[in-house]
Symmetry: C2
Subunit: 300 residues, 2 copies
């Protein structure tokens, strides 16, 4: 099965189990709303790309790990949009989850998605204990405290922010976990893959800052100028647009370079190229090029 | 080590790992605030009581399961108090977590506690795969959707409520998981213990409704009259005070009866008696007895 269909099918299975008929109807609808339709599914795609680069010896476990990273991501989007965080009315061009279902349900969807993420992998423990244990550990590290998504978001409440720790925890940690989990499934050295995931994740954070600073709200399907409005650390504020674009290119280049030697190295390179192309809003490249500060990577 | 010290030590270990120096300081303080000092620690106590009744063959795993159920409980209290739910300024006589640390941090603490709960048990997977897998499954069932804590809370957003499903998911499911997890650790039949946990949990729900309807806010350390204010289903609204007290007694009696035959049956009975005594606010018994509708169980 193609990667995209695998991811959607595995997510559908997880959502179907959580939204069984005994589930309160609004919560069930909201869980589905949080997961479908998705965005780029880049994190689960990375997980499967790494597993496939090592012959994908346990597709069921690879799918479970991919589902888990995507569900953590979905949970983080629902929470980011809440009134006390970004107070965003839109996500992917649709009403944000709390606008559609209310704030109570949005908070509970976050909980349910985190539980579903762990449960996806837990159900493989009996058959694949060593790999499942390692994946569960990587997921917990990426999602919670001291240095996962929850910690990343919490840096925004600190009077003084460690910007590297903030960006790593908020975005890069889950990309790392995706690559690490794929490597674990493929019997490869997970630490050899950590950098690839981390650098792609950092590139995503830079792209997110660029989109927030310069994107068009209608095209992005979500509000912009949140970083400045919320006084959040931003690569664009630190380095300017041209500097941020250069850093984006450098990170993608580093991610490419860091891919460990393996049978499917070329496929992972292709995956990263595609992911990089999606990262870069064309109008930003155009605006910047017109202003004489174009960057090396053509991702239009 | 005595049960209480075991629980506090195991919780301290989980909190210390999550609040390592790399954790943002406010999140770290808030995670600790959510867990210490605790309430009655009844759910982890039940888990350890059941494991001990079967000779406690793996104290580390029993502690991990006990920690997990308590962390889910702590997460649910932090969320219950949020402005969009009970909007409670107090919890256990102190400012509620969001009043002290802000709503953003409160939501992130909920996430972090859920991750910590799974992580506590996951770290035993490599050594005890079969038991850990079963415990992780029981925890996910008790915490998420379709029928765990998140679902229980979500019933409050439905136009029409299945009261049994609501009470079971909101309160009894986690007590069930505590008993089931203790049985799994002790190589006992988990299904034989499910009823004991569930009935104690239902008794707690009835006691919570009674306290909400009749308690003194100062004594409880949290706001009262939330059920009526929020138009939530309540056993007191359905059965009256005397009816609710009778149901509380019946549930405790059923829980006692349901304890499976085992070496430590007497110890579990003692545990349930203590838990039952804590459940019943003396002033409610006194008020009800004075009004001529006393109940059979003396738990003053």
């Amino acid at each position: 099965m193609e990667t995209e269909s695998r991811i959607e099918a595995a997510l559908e299975q997880a959502v179907r189990a959580a939204t069984a008929p005994s589930c309160p109807q609004r919560l069930a609808s909201a869980i589905r709303y949080a997961v479908f339709p998705g965005g780029g599914r880049v994190r689960p795609g990375l997980c499967l790309a790494v597993a496939r680069a090592h012959d994908d010896p346990d597709p069921g476990l690879a799918d479970a790990a991919a589902v888990a990273v995507e569900l953590f991501h979905c949970a983080s989007l629902v929470q980011d949009d809440l009134p006390c965080f970004d107070d965003a009315p839109l996500r992917r061009g649709q009403p944000s989850l709390h606008k559609r279902f209310g704030e109570e349900i949005a908070i509970l969807v976050g909980d349910a998605l985190i539980v579903m993420a762990f449960n996806a992998v837990s159900s493989h423990v009996a058959k694949q204990p060593a790999k499942s244990a390692a994946i569960l550990g990587a997921l917990a590290r990426a999602a919670g405290a001291p240095a996962g998504i929850a910690a990343g978001q919490a840096w925004e409440s600190e009077p003084s922010v460690d910007v590297n720790a903030y960006h790593h925890a908020k975005t890069a940690a889950l990309f790392e976990a995706a690559a690490v989990a794929g490597a674990i499934v493929g019997d490869a050295d997970p630490e050899a893959w950590r950098a690839t995931g981390g650098q792609l994740g950092e590139a995503y954070q830079v792209a997110d800052d660029l989109a927030d600073a310069l994107g068009e709200s209608g095209r992005l399907g979500k509000p912009i100028h949140q970083d400045g409005h919320k006084s959040r650390p931003s690569v664009v504020a630190d380095l300017g647009v041209a500097g941020a674009l250069a850093q984006l290119d450098r990170l993608i280049g580093q991610a490419m370079q860091s891919i460990p030697e393996c049978r499917g190295r070329r496929d992972v390179q292709d995956f990263l190229s595609l992911a990089a192309a999606r990262l870069c809003p064309p109008e930003i490249r155009q605006q910047t090029a017109a202003a004489g500060s174009g960057s090396a990577l053509d991702c239009g």
